[in-house]
Symmetry: D2
Subunit: 450 residues, 4 copies
């Protein structure tokens, strides 16, 4: 018999603080398992009934927060079994027939994911809806799109918002793909070898709405791909949120002033009363680092682990829960922030006056006349250089000045009539920032998301 684990070791090894989140999933899994044991005549009907009624009582206790954890509850599985023993006596010991913690914990984690990932997907859709509504409401505002964080070309603000809608759509696809591999029930793999009991894994899988059943008992208890994949999917989602946060933080700076963030998601300063700090957005960006760190940690954890179960795997739950919770909360918060953000049309459109961002249109105009693009590029560079030196915008250049630079009348006319709205009106390629193209996209997304 093992001596008591010393108390430091307990502190180090017990996972109950983390895995108590699995309580309800653990109970659902156990009920299905016991139903199967009964059906397969592995345990008696009346034993099964007793166990299940005990489990249901525990479920109630957990739901109404009356479940009391005890000092020796190492993890959620032992806590529930301990309580079951108190409630129904030694028959509780039959629940664990033909099951091991090795397959049980994988089941719990998968049930958790089957529950939480669709919620995350919904939260993505809600954020997308907010973005599409915003794009609709501020459809025709122009902003300078940056490349290299330098003003590059005028685009519709709505087009910029829809770029994020596209990103988030991929996140939803990835969640769907990932769930295919979550949706394989591991129960019946036992410790690693399967069992001599005539279990029916298909029955359990159906009860718990799994699409498939594991094929190899060693793989079933060793595999944490589904967690690695979830962490990677969530990390990509957080990257998108982080990029959006970064832009909003910059736009909220009064020197830029494109947006004003909603008060309820900002905080003041303890020493600077005038400030309105974008704390929630900063934390979304900051917690993205945590999520990346967790992803790294999880990969490092698995690297070079021999099969089958190793206790190292216990650390996966901390990574998993944090990743799902931060992603979920960040989505909810971002949707609210975006909803409450005030758009400053004037600042956005004024910003288009910096950096000669309509220059590309002149180059395209020249190319359209048959001048090789590289040569057109050089001509426009001359014009811009001249305007820059004079400190005027392109349409302010005089005909005589442009003629001296060798520009023909046709092109001079084009330049004199060019402004950012004109620039956008010129765009007509599929997927471009053209008025018609973006309008259709807004409509398409509204249909998809309704």
């Amino acid at each position: 018999m093992k001596k008591e684990l010393c108390s430091v070791a307990k502190n180090f090894t017990f996972s109950i603080d983390v895995d108590k989140k699995l309580a309800l999933f653990d109970i659902s899994g156990s009920i299905a398992h016991v139903q199967m044991l009964v059906k397969q005549k592995i345990i008696k009907n009346h034993d099964g009934k007793k166990i299940i009624s005990g489990l249901k009582k525990i479920r109630d206790e957990i739901r109404n927060n009356s479940f009391v954890f005890k000092e020796n509850d190492e993890d959620i599985h032992t806590a529930i079994e301990r309580r079951l023993n108190e409630l129904v006596g030694s028959v509780a010991g039959k629940m664990h027939t033909a099951r091991s913690r090795n397959d049980q914990v994988v089941l719990d984690e998968k049930l958790y994911l089957k529950n939480v990932m669709p919620e995350i997907e919904n939260a993505i859709s809600s954020l997308q809806s907010v973005l599409v509504d915003k794009a609709d409401a501020y459809f025709d505002i122009c902003i300078p799109e940056f490349t290299h964080f330098q003003p590059a070309q005028p685009v519709l603000f709505s087009h910029h918002l829809l770029a994020f809608v596209e990103m988030f759509e991929r996140d939803k696809q990835r969640i769907q793909d990932c769930l295919k591999r979550v949706d394989i029930c591991p129960l019946g793999a036992c410790a690693c070898a399967g069992t001599s009991f005539p279990v029916d894994p298909e029955f359990v899988a159906q009860k718990l709405t799994f699409q498939q059943v594991f094929r190899n008992s060693i793989d079933a208890v060793s595999d944490r791909d589904f967690i690695l994949e979830t962490l990677a999917v969530n990390a990509m989602l957080m990257l998108h949120l982080s990029r959006m946060a970064e832009e909003l933080i910059i736009w909220h700076n009064p020197l830029i002033g494109f947006v004003e963030l909603p008060d309820e998601f900002c905080t003041g300063s303890s020493i600077m009363p005038q400030k309105k700090n974008p704390d929630v957005l900063e934390l979304i960006r900051g917690k993205t680092s945590t999520i990346i760190g967790n992803l790294t940690g999880m990969f490092t954890l698995i690297k070079a682990l021999p099969l089958s179960y190793n206790r190292d795997l216990q650390e996966d739950k901390r990574f998993l829960f944090e990743s799902c919770e931060i992603s979920h909360l960040s989505l909810i918060l971002m949707a609210e922030i975006m909803k409450g953000t005030k758009i400053n049309r004037e600042k956005m459109e004024n910003a288009c006056h910096y950096g000669y961002i309509e220059a590309t249109d002149i180059a395209e105009f020249l190319s359209g006349k048959g001048i090789p693009f590289r040569q057109a590029h050089h001509i426009v560079a001359k014009i811009v250089g001249f305007a820059c030196e004079k400190g005027v915008r392109l349409f302010e250049l005089k005909d005589t000045e442009l003629k001296k630079l060798g520009i023909d009348d046709d092109t001079i006319n084009f330049i004199k009539n060019l402004d950012v709205h004109k620039s956008i009106h010129l765009k007509r390629s599929p997927g471009s920032t053209g008025i018609k193209q973006v309008k259709e996209e807004v409509k398409r997304w509204k249909n998809i998301l309704k």
Copy 2:
């Protein structure tokens, strides 16, 4: 006009050493783009012909290694355009009409992936075949399956090998899922806003066998999800190879001796002539760290980048190429190593005599008689403890000794007849290490992989 970048800056910013791998993909993309420009009458037919013939000549030069890179070739795109200029003159400048390096580079990377990922998938299948053949050839060998790196239960060696086949099957699924998002053609997004030229992105996409066309020009040039996803997929694949490598390295140690690795993938020592070091396997395990580092690096790169294109993104190619090449080579090498590995049946089966790994079967036997599993567990613990103290195996215990421990005749009989092969024969659950179950799995995999 910009001054020359100083030479240190060149060294720092030029990507030609890395992205020259994209040469052929860049040319394919350019040819399709020029064909579209001609079809849409954006450039003249004879100009298009000249450009395409020049591009084909360059393709030949690259294929037969006669292409000469020049000192100012910043990246592969400029190198090819520079050469095109030499070959066909200033008409070369028309190739870049309605295109930017921002959409061009994404196209090249996606063409690269559409090419290399199926090769990786094939290499996975080859490795799976080797594993299945090995499982077939050594079908009935027993090994002690470890949990916590302690002998836990006897399983068929073939069952253990098939666990890896399952893992690799998931890798193939993930590659397929990832390719869906690679398979979206970005050409036509230009710098970020689309273009005023009447381009036909669908045409280009079809020419280059893409399934879909981008929907939002800003997203098209900002998005690197497809690279993040590839890196994550490859990193999971490498984890599987790393776990396999770890096991083979341990098994090859003469104290364990389960396997003998093939000479041609081992090296000797400069000072210890007798050694046969598993260098290739160690490097597969070691390079898995490199791949995890690259994954981390890529996530860190994207975090908090504002839209749309930023030069930081240049670093993605280094991560991408290394990830794909290491994964591909590792798979090829692992298949060869596995093929040439000698299996030591005797050592494997002798190893089953350590650790009382048949104890679980006794617990299951007792449970089958109605004793709650937890109680059965305590009874078996007593038996094992007694045998351990005496230093004998379980079937060597005397009837009288077992009786003194309170064991009934039926169970005594069970124990006396229990050995590792019996243990495996008892297993009958789906996905278990049972003879019938594993045999069917070998057959199933042979069908899938043939």
Copy 3:
């Protein structure tokens, strides 16, 4: 006035659950700060007395766990200030004169580190002592030292243990180096610009036993180098523990059997009663991944943050506390485990019979006779190859056999008398596994650590 942060945002932004660990350090810092304010006549003496007596009362509440956190306590600083207000009224508001949360939080973190890092250092010394005692107690046992996880050369087990003692000594040096940069007091930097109050940062620094005072207020609130450095130092320490854990886990496997781990740090299996799993060691190894993930996360967090304070930095505390706590606990546990580990001399020495690990000695013997080392290497390779084929050990080869391989009498004599103990006795280079060398090292370490 700001609207209330919505409750989800609260959940997301509040750090009280994490930073409550800083409570006592926060109070110490505040007391010193208030003492300075009084000394500098920035606040009145009797106001200072009131505040300090309030702070001491709060300190007592925290120490005896009677401090009650309230729903709106965002972080530990606001919790304490809120409580101070309850205790001493509005004069509490003077405590924050010439201070900001920006410099306050850095102070708290540094005080935490000045407290915890020396404890970690002590725990390292304790582990080193256990290792040295073990080396002393089992001084003369031989084990096969592995390179490439293949038996390479016989060494003293004690020599192997002392390798870890060396590693841990470097960890202690790194902690000392890191503390130099922790030991710079940031108080007085305020939000970022310093203050118009005539504060005396030197006084505060001395009260709190800091060696130095910050030099630049912007740097003082932006800098998190000291946390990055701590995380890196702790991660290296964990790598050492992880390598030791890996070896012990392998050695504890009955097929190797070099050691038997103490029961109280192992656990059994719920389904396999005979097992003794090295769970604590597995978790030390597993949590090393968590620590590496945290290190990555912290680096990612800081990358590309503009100066000065950004809310992202809040995430640093989670990384910091976890890193210090896991390192500290792991050290304590490893020392206990090592202390209780039983050494199996027989298995270790028997293991030396595998792999012809005395071959290098023959090569050195031949070189000593003037044969170039590379040639000696080839000769020995022949001998080993022959012995291997015959399945005998080197000293079992017959004279006639060796002569046929072209070996001279002198060398034959050397080979016939060679065994692992002899091999070790031959070593005489400084730092080698020679008897005399290792004995001296044991003595040296005993002196250092006593």
Copy 4:
């Protein structure tokens, strides 16, 4: 005899492309080693002379790029030994007496670091000098210091620059600390056990200017702490450069316009002729991710490796070289960029008019009059709120308006005379942005760096 490694394996395992950077260090190490062998009479004097003259010839070949690598040169050590054999015949084989690649490669890496890290330190000092000169030249410009990327308080631009000088000073300290642990010579550890030859490691260490000699042969060949530490130190340095790059990129955006970056470190756009992209800075920021990825990779590599040498360690060189080269180049480039950057005083000072950044000074003024800081905070918040609503700056508020808000004459007078320069003049705390304080710091740094 081993069969030839198949060609794919070669490609996978050969490190020559990476480790050829070690060539000159390898030769220096070998010369010192051979001198020791001669001194200790382990090899004959004339043999030693031959070998050394051969090594010197190879050194010349490498220096003038005439050394020819051959197809079977696995790594730099074998390449040099192969060439030595060609030059001096089989006596070359004596060079490897009492040495293994295991200690040799550690020596080479340490010699590399002893060479490159001081160069990096010098590059840091050069950058610091540029920063201090800039701080001196633009001493009195005010900028809004950001916290949460919101304008917080006015500071001197020079004070902001000196914050970076502080950061870089810590980097130099860390390099010094790290070099202490690099500076331990590993030669003589051989494969892992030491040797029977009467070697003199002290002699070799002195020849190669090492401060210390290894103490434990197993540790000497297993240890890669010095590389982990270098990577961590370089990664922190890169974080500082990345933060500086981030700020410059933002400042260079014309909407902010604080600075104009030098043309020679910017590039244009292929499609947007007017742009001046901060590519080098973006790449410094981007490559910081690469460096973080390498750090992660290296930690992952070592985690759970058993002692002593494992081939996985080969990957360390790739991490090491890249980390040192990128850090070094980034420093050189940043110094040049900073030197050439034009400062826009007008834009910086105008930016101080946003965000009521002088509000803190009013709060401090009120506190100075005995009002608790928290209460002062509320009063100022009222004033700022009123001014914000009216759209005026604080000093523009009318006496009557301020009186209505309950402000006394004294404070009204203070407010009417408050502007950003006044704000800075008010600061007088050590380390603050006060004129006197910053002036002294500039002087101090000039002294340190001259």
